[in-house]
Amino acid sequence: MTISYTKEKKVGEGTYAVVYLGKQLPSERNIAVKEIKVGTFKDGVDMSAIREVKYLQELKHQNVIELVDVFDEEGNINLVLEFLPMDLEIIIKDTSLLFQPGDVKSWMLMTLRGLHHCHRNFILHRDLKPNNLLISPDGELKIADFGLARSLSQPNERLTSNVVTRWYRAPELLFGARHYTEVIDVWAVGIIFAELMLRTPYLPGKDDADQLTVTFQALGTPTDKTWPGVSTLPLYKSLHVYPEPSRAELLNRFGAASEEALNLMIAMTRMDPNKRCSTEEALTCKYFTEYPPPTKPINLPMKTQKKRESEEDYESNKR
């Protein structure tokens, strides 16, 4: 039996790919097809496409986007991905939706589970942000966009520190570290956690320099005392030293957060990467077992637009 795919609707175009919605035949399963543009690059296929295929075909997890298939058509590479209509950014920005503490917990749980699967396979995602956390129709959150992913480096490899969208960039990256590890992803999740509670970006720097200022204003400036060796990093400058926020200040900033939620966030946004918690530590922390329990994915708040459309259809049918 042959499996084929249809491309029905173009939904987006990036610098290196065009995304279509379509169906897998004969199963009628909804899928998204990412067609990589070839030929626009001198050196063959774009790096991020290779990264995406390389890592996604290894990772199979409930909370990581599924790479269904890869095929080639007229010399173009097509990635067949799971169809995920929603992302967390849209949900955060939709002010008509109310988040319960259990909802935030559920999203955090799914993100960390997905990320834990990446990390135990020694894969760094390097571009975590609400926009890359997609939501399936039944509410499951899935980590997507592995275009910047890579595996944990060897000591002789020097990585570029110019990764991760600015607002979610860990301090060691801001200082130009070349030997960072998977905890940069943990930092990003910590910032997303804050964003879920605040409903607005936590550390919105206007440019790279401003990002340093904003980050340290919020969480204190690291020194060689609090973060041994930080001054050896390439971009470390003697900056204005902001004091570290006290617990009371943080409590004030996140009025809705429970004590345990705050503990987890503090652990995930520690400046010194050596002290930051791992995904495993984060998942086993008390926050996830304390009251209230995480909301079931199917009951999480969802954008209602789709529902309204179908209701309208129903109404017009009645008339």
Binding site: L152, H179, G229, R247, R276
Partner: protein, 316 residues
């Protein structure tokens, strides 16, 4: 002039007497001022003062208006009246469908009463239901009161816990400061006197502080216990729909997917003449959070998972 500004009976103006209050009666919702109510209804029930309104009004039923829109005011009154009688909870039904049916019935009655549809018939229905279910209504009422009490207790305990925790933190910080000072003083003393033992006073102080902080910790723990008990009491109230749902799988952080298969045993140290040196000599490695053990782990995992070999099995 706006009708809100003066009383239609005595024509007193709100502008001239800003203290005046308007009252309404849920019989007909006609608005009159407080002094008129006193004048006309203090001697017992009497007819509404509005022309053509023949409702008999009683003084004790007059109340201040909450909503600007009288239709909303009326609906709220009707609803609270109906809900007093129809006071079952979701837990009292074993089937969601029955519960929805029940809610539908309530809405029908409210709608009829608000919009004056089949008033007599609906009133009769309400009364019949009340008579039929008298005992149950009373029971549900007491149940609700109990639940509210637990909820109130819970909120009180939670605020108490928060305060306690904050105080604990503050005190610990202060004591740390004091302790540090005392230790410093002791150190200076020691250097001056060259006596090997720290003075008795400091040691006493230390144990005192420890004892105090552990007592506070215990207190906080007790509070947490109490809160949990209340929560359980709230959650385990119903035996209806909730319990018919199949039991949930217990929560596990990794969703039952924690990898326990180990292809290799990890040692504390591995000999690698190039990388070990490289990492230990360059401080930027540690500063960026790099740990050579992670690299060794990755190498071992890649070597063994690819071949699916368990070393211990191979040896035996």
């Amino acid at each position: 002039m706006d009708t809100e500004e003066y009383c239609p009976i005595c024509k007193t103006d709100k502008y001239l007497s800003p203290d005046m209050k308007f009252l309404i009666n849920p019989e007909c919702y006609h608005k009159i001022c407080e002094s008129c109510v006193d004048r006309f209804y203090s001697l017992g029930p009497s007819k509404c003062m509005y022309p053509n309104c023949n409702k008999i009004l009683r003084r004790n039923k007059f109340k201040t208006q909450v909503f600007d829109d009288l239709s909303i005011e009326k609906e709220c009154d009707v609803r609270s009246r109906v809900m007093k009688v129809f006071n079952k909870n979701e837990e009292d039904f074993s089937d969601l469908k029955d519960y929805n049916q029940y809610l539908e019935e309530i809405e029908d009655i409210v709608n009829n009463l608000v919009n004056n549809v089949d008033i007599e018939e609906t009133e009769k229905k309400l009364k019949d239901y009340e008579l039929l279910n008298q005992k149950e209504i009373l029971e549900n009422n007491t149940k609700q009161v109990e639940k509210d009490q637990i909820q109130a207790d819970l909120t009180k305990l939670e605020t108490q816990l928060k305060q306690e925790k904050r105080r604990h933190e503050k005190q610990t910080a202060e004591e740390d400061k004091l302790l540090k000072k005392a230790n410093e003083a002791a150190l200076i003393d020691q250097m001056q006197n060259e006596s090997a033992q720290p003075p008795q006073a400091v040691r006493m102080h230390n144990t005192n502080v420890l004892r105090k902080s552990s007592a506070r910790k215990k207190h906080i723990k007790e509070l947490e216990e109490q809160i949990n008990m209340h929560r359980r009491a709230l959650g385990a109230g119903g035996h209806g729909i909730e319990s018919s749902v199949p039991p949930q799988t217990p929560f596990t952080p990794f969703n039952g997917d924690k990898d326990r298969t180990k292809y290799y045993q990890f040692q504390d140290n591995y000999y690698d003449p190039i990388f070990n040196d490289m990492v230990s000599k360059d401080p930027t490695f540690t500063a960026s959070g790099y740990d050579i053990k992670k690299y060794f782990k990755r190498s071992l995992a890649e070597a063994f998972t690819g071949l699916n070999i368990f070393v211990s099995e191979e040896i035996s």
